[in-house]
């Protein structure tokens, strides 16, 4: 039987319209705007100054804490300014603007495309290389990968789970990577297994990607430590906790990290970046981004340098259609609408989705009829309608009691609500308030 997670879940239309498009390399932009906070945790501290010449792959901002990551230049050129640039939220964040003058890579980076499968490094050396390369979770959460590889004392990883689920509708970046870079991903998985000192790895792939499953199975057929597990299609299977449940049958306790049940989860994009970082010395300064949408003339998968304005990606995919209502950074379920096309691609940008005007409006909100559909689809077993009510009434202690912090913001509740209630909007608000309360209590 094909496995999946048990609690909740929804089945949005797949719309994987760019699945057949091979990954193309996008030409270098004229300038790159690289924010110093592209990951969860402390923003990196800039180590270059205005006027400095930088090379592709050079560190331009250093990690400033345990949970933080290095930022590298994604092109060679001159640092024009280091000041506030606008991110997808419209609020200014510190960023490094580089005028691109060419593409001169650091000499240490191996630019050959040949597969380099053997390695002779110990766990520590691999982790250090990953840390130096500034690798973060490329599935969208952008949690620094090296932190995952250093489990807290007393905890031991037992299984490495590679997340090739890509349950978000429309997005196909991971799908293409598994098809085109399958061998590299498997080497990356071996590197991570070595770093974590585990003997078992499972690549979880939803069975709407049979070609990717077949490709990976072909590659790993001689390696009995790694297996590919086809999964039943259900959103949000790509959620870390859902995937662990689907693959191992274990449930991560409320408030705990996956390591508590002996699992470490990494996205296929991250694993590919790990391969490049360790075997080719290439830091994370480019990623695969799906540019898609029903109205777009040429939906594609691009390999893009970090810091490229999303407007250039849209141009390359056929230009912004006239009836565009919304541009979303990420997928339709968890992505965020952006205010301008000047927003730069960051490490966490998995896709750019163009929504038509008529698709992009919310339907008018009606009263809650207590149908409990949101309860039945919540993958974390929460009661979204209740959490929305307590957030609306600002009863933060009640919200905390009802495990609002367990919400993974997958949006299944808002997606399924027949009364079109903005459940997730309010739950997100509640989460930020309760989170602030918890932090203030710890101080």
């Amino acid at each position: 039987m094909v496995k999946t997670f048990k609690t909740g879940g929804v089945h949005p239309a797949g719309n994987k319209i760019s699945a057949g498009k091979a990954i193309e390399e996008l030409p270098l932009p004229k300038t790159v705007n690289i924010p110093v906070a592209q990951h969860i945790g402390a923003p990196a501290a800039p180590v270059v100054a205005k006027g400095d010449k930088v090379k592709t792959g050079q560190v331009i901002a250093r990690s400033s804490g345990f949970v933080s990551a290095n930022i590298h230049s994604s092109a060679s050129g001159t640092v024009v300014k280091i000041e506030n640039i606008y991110d997808s939220s419209g609020y200014p964040k510190t960023g490094i603007v580089i005028a691109v003058e060419g593409d001169e890579w650091l000499e240490t980076i191996d630019r050959s495309t040949a597969l380099k499968a053997d390695f002779d490094l110990d766990s520590k050396a691999i982790t250090d290389k990953i840390m130096e390369a500034g690798i973060v979770g490329l599935g969208g959460a952008t949690f620094p990968t090296h932190v995952k590889l250093m489990p807290p004392p007393g905890m031991k990883a037992e299984v490495l789970i590679i997340n090739g689920v890509e349950c978000e509708p429309y997005l196909t970046a991971d799908h293409r990577l598994m098809l085109e870079k399958g061998a590299e991903i498997v080497v990356g998985a071996r590197l991570l297994m070595k770093a974590l000192n585990v003997e078992k790895a499972v690549i979880g792939v939803e069975n709407n990607k049979p070609d990717a499953i077949k490709n990976l199975q072909e590659i790993i057929k001689d390696d009995n430590r790694i297996s590919v597990m086809p999964l039943h299609v259900k959103y949000p299977q790509g959620g870390e906790k859902q995937l662990i449940k689907a693959v191992t049958g274990r449930e991560v306790p409320s408030g705990a990290l996956p390591i508590a049940v002996g699992a470490v989860v990494s996205n296929v994009g991250t694993v590919f970046a790990v391969y490049e970082a360790v075997q080719k010395n290439k830091p994370l300064f480019e990623r695969v981004v799906t540019v898609t949408g029903k109205s777009l003339s040429n939906p594609s998968n691009f390999k893009v340098r970090i810091g490229t304005a999303i407007g250039e990606l849209i141009e390359a995919a056929g230009g912004l259609p006239e009836d565009t209502g919304k541009i979303i950074s990420g997928g339709p379920m968890m992505g965020k609408a952006v205010a301008t096309t000047e927003v730069a691609v960051t490490k966490g940008t998995s896709g750019i989705l163009i929504m038509k005007e008529d698709e992009s409006h919310r339907r008018p909100m009606e009263n809650c009829i207590r149908c409990a559909r949101c309860v039945s689809v919540c993958p974390m077993g929460l009661e979204p309608f209740f959490l929305m009510t307590v957030s609306e009434k600002q009863l933060w202690d009640k919200a905390e009691e009802n495990r609002i912090m367990d919400c993974i913001e997958c949006g299944s509740c808002s997606f399924t609500c027949p009364a079109n209630r903005p459940l997730l909007d309010y739950i997100r608000l509640g989460k930020s308030k309760v989170g602030a309360l918890i932090r203030s209590r710890k101080k």
Binding site: S88, K336, A339, P422, D425, Y426, L429
Partner: protein, 304 residues
């Protein structure tokens, strides 16, 4: 027959008396002493339970007044000085009169002044919108106009003007409880000391960006040029991170700053029309009256 009735009455009376005796002793044993002054103080308070004093309600405020036996730091903004004098009378304490305050909204970014660059489609709440992104206009400091302040106000004193899309405070009804101040995620609302005849002069902007950026986002933004600061004879104006602030305690309401402000970010309310006609005021007065606040202002603009 009659005997049955008598027995019944006697038995019931006996049970009643017995229960009463038990209740009396239990009541004595578990008696909770409550200062009778708490009730008196509570009855002297307005009973709005607005939380403007920083307590959970009027009862909690009354308890605190009695318990502390000192009124320093305790003030009921709704009842004002009269109410506090009554409370002081009940408790036999001294109270220092406080200057009454009123809420002002420090944003004048109407659709005309601050063009909208996108459209928000989510839940209609400023708190949610501000946690998602910077807002519909290019100014990340400006009013979102979804009325969290209106929702928070228990005195019906703040309303969104449908023409400007901005909240306006009704000076008559505002009790300066501060509910709107904490409800505004952009920190736009400030409690300012009330001046005679409800006159007000304040910088209606919170934009701390550099002048050019601020001006691009909103034509009436404070650009931090410092002209008002130079003009002020009373050291009432300070400029911090490209934003001017007028200290209501020092301001003598001379209106010189209003006249020199190049963007019209400083607003004046409830003033009589200017006597000496200068070259600039026409423009500024026009901007002032875009907020229909007081009849005096209207005469002001018609004169200019």
């Amino acid at each position: 027959m009659s005997l049955t009735i008598i027995y019944t009455i006697v038995t019931l009376c006996a049970i009643g008396t017995f229960a009463a005796v038990i209740l009396y002793f239990v009541a004595q044993k578990f008696k909770v002493y409550e200062d009778p002054r708490i009730d008196k103080v509570e009855s002297a308070l307005p009973g709005a339970n607005c939380g403007g004093c920083g307590h959970a309600g009027c009862r909690a405020f009354a308890e605190d007044c009695v318990k502390k036996n000192d009124l320093a730091g305790l003030f009921c903004p709704v009842g004002g000085n009269d109410c506090m004098a009554r409370v002081a009378g009940i408790l036999g304490l001294e109270v220092v009169a406080q200057a009454p305050k009123v809420a002002v909204v420090r944003c004048n970014g109407t659709c005309e002044h601050r063009p909208r660059v996108n459209k928000f489609d989510g839940a209609s709440s400023c708190a949610i919108a501000s946690s998602l992104y910077s807002g519909e206009s290019g100014c990340q400091y400006g009013c979102l106009g979804m009325g969290d302040c209106v929702e928070a106000c228990k005195f019906d004193a703040i309303h969104i003007n449908p023409e400007t899309g901005l909240p306006e405070v009704d000076d008559e009804k505002c009790v300066a409880c501060g509910a709107c101040v904490s409800a505004c995620p952009k920190n736009l609302i400030e409690l300012r000391k009330k001046a005679p005849k409800d006159r007000k002069i304040y910088v209606s902007c919170r934009n701390t960006d550099k002048g050019g950026i601020a001006r691009k986002a909103c034509t009436v933004a404070c650009i931090g040029c410092g002209k008002c600061q130079k003009e002020c004879n009373f050291d009432a104006i300070t400029i911090a991170s490209n934003l001017a602030f007028i200290d209501a305690d020092k301001c003598k309401l001379c209106r010189k700053c209003v006249a020199v402000c190049p963007t019209g970010a400083i607003l004046e309310f409830n003033f009589p029309p200017r006597k000496i006609k200068s070259e600039e005021p026409a423009d500024i007065a026009g901007k002032v009256t875009s907020k229909p606040a007081a009849p005096e202002n209207k005469t002001n603009s018609s004169e200019n």
